[in-house]
C-alpha cells in the first residue's frame, strides 16, 4: 500500500521555485487529502512519505529554508504535550499545528469565561462555558487536518499526570499557577521528558527549558514549599501581546528540543518587560 502511495505522491508532485529561485517539487494540500482518501494512509503519513521522497508538502514550503526535509519529518513524527489551553496554550497550539508537529496532546479541564477574551486566541464569545480542550482540538483540525490530536478534558495532577504525558517528546507548560508548575516539572522529571516552561504577569514574561537532570523551577521560584499559589499576575493581569510573544518563544524552544539544535534556554531564563522593551537572558547556575 505504501509503495502505491509513494508512486502516487511522486506522480502528483509539481515543480515549483522558492522565493530565492531554487527549485523544488511540491504537493498540494488537496492532493494530500485526496491521496489519503484513495489509499487509506493518513495525511500525516503521506506528508512524511512525500518528504522522504524529495517532495515538499506545499503547506510547509516556507519552513523548508530553515528546516531540512529530515527536520520536517522529525517534527511530523513528534508528539508534544500542551498543558493548559489558555493564553499561552492557545497560541502554542496554533503555532505548533501550523509548523507541522505531527501529534498534539492537549490537556485542560477548564471552560472559557469572558475575562479570557483579551488574550486567549481559542476563546470567542460563542464559546463561553465551553471546553478549552475541545476548542483546541477543533482549531488544530481547522488549521492542519494532518495533525493527530489527543484531547484530555481534565486538569493535570500528580495522579493522572504520567498517563497524560507518556509518549510525548516534549511538554509545554502553559499553566496559570505556580503550584501546578512544580507538579508538572516533577512528572516530567519522572518520565524523562524535556519541559519548556513560561509564565507572565502584565507585560513581564519569562521562559526557560528544563531537562530531567536540570535543577529547574527551584532556581527561579526558590523552594517549592515556600512558593505562593500565584505570582505578580494577580496584581497585574495578563496582556495579550506579552502572552503571544511568550508563546512564540516557547515554540522556538520546542522545535530546538525536537531537532536537537543548539541555543536552548537550559539553566537560563529569558526575561522580558515589553513595557520598556527590555529583554535579558539570566544564567541561573
Amino acid at each position: 500500500m505504501n509503495a502505491h502511495a509513494i508512486e502516487k505522491i511522486i506522480k502528483s508532485a509539481q515543480p515549483k521555485v522558492f522565493p530565492d529561485k531554487t527549485a523544488y517539487n511540491s504537493i498540494s494540500l488537496s492532493q494530500i487529502v485526496q491521496l489519503s482518501k484513495a489509499t487509506g494512509v493518513s495525511s500525516r503519513q503521506i506528508e512524511i512519505m512525500a518528504l522522504e521522497n524529495g517532495v515538499v508538502p506545499e503547506r510547509y514550503a516556507r519552513n523548508m529554508k530553515s528546516f531540512s526535509p529530515q527536520d520536517q519529518i522529525a517534527l511530523l513524527k513528534a508528539q508534544v504535550s500542551i498543558v493548559g489551553l489558555g493564553g499561552l496554550g492557545g497560541t502554542v497550539v496554533e503555532i505548533l499545528a501550523r509548523i507541522g508537529i505531527g501529534i498534539l496532546n492537549v490537556i485542560d479541564g477548564d471552560t472559557f469565561e469572558e475575562s479570557n477574551l483579551n488574550r486567549q486566541f481559542l476563546s470567542i464569545p460563542e464559546q463561553m462555558a465551553k471546553s478549552k480542550a475541545d476548542a483546541a482540538a477543533q482549531r488544530i483540525k481547522t488549521i492542519n487536518s494532518a495533525v493527530e490530536v489527543k484531547v484530555h478534558h481534565r486538569f493535570l495532577d500528580a495522579e493522572n499526570g504520567v498517563a497524560l504525558l507518556r509518549h510525548s517528546n516534549v511538554c509545554v507548560d502553559c499553566l496559570d499557577n505556580l503550584k501546578t508548575r512544580f507538579i508538572l516539572e516533577r512528572l516530567c522529571k519522572q518520565i524523562k521528558l524535556p519541559l519548556v516552561s513560561a509564565a507572565l504577569a502584565g507585560a513581564t514574561a519569562q521562559v526557560t527549558t528544563i531537562f530531567p537532570q536540570d535543577q529547574g523551577l527551584k532556581l527561579i521560584y526558590g523552594a517549592e514549599e515556600k512558593v505562593p499559589p500565584k505570582g505578580a499576575e494577580t496584581a497585574l493581569g495578563t496582556l495579550p501581546y506579552a502572552v503571544t510573544f511568550l508563546a512564540a518563544l516557547e515554540c522556538a524552544e520546542v522545535i530546538k528540543v525536537i531537532l536537537d539544535k543548539p541555543g536552548l534556554l537550559r539553566n537560563k531564563l529569558l526575561v522580558a518587560d515589553l513595557d520598556d522593551a527590555v529583554i535579558d537572558i539570566v544564567t541561573l547556575c
Binding site: G87, L175, D280
Partner: protein
Amino acid sequence: MHRGTKIQLKLFANLQAFAPPAADNYTINAGITVGDLLAQLNIPEDKAKIIFIDGVKSELTTILRGGERVGIFPPVGGG
C-alpha cells in the same frame, strides 16, 4: 569609607512600584550587598525571587561594586 557609585537598576513587573527615580543610573555606596539594596528600596525579600547582576543570578550576599546592571524579578505565574 564607602564611595558613591552608579548601577543600572531594572525592576520587573509589580516591583516597578519600588523603582527610585532615574533607576537606570542609581547611586549606591560601593560595597553594599544585594540584600542591602533591597532594604534600601523597601522591597520585601520574598518578592524578589530572582536578582541578576550582569545577566547572572546572584545571592542576597553578593556585593555591588558599581557599574553593574542589576535586575530584580518577582515570582510570576500567569499564562
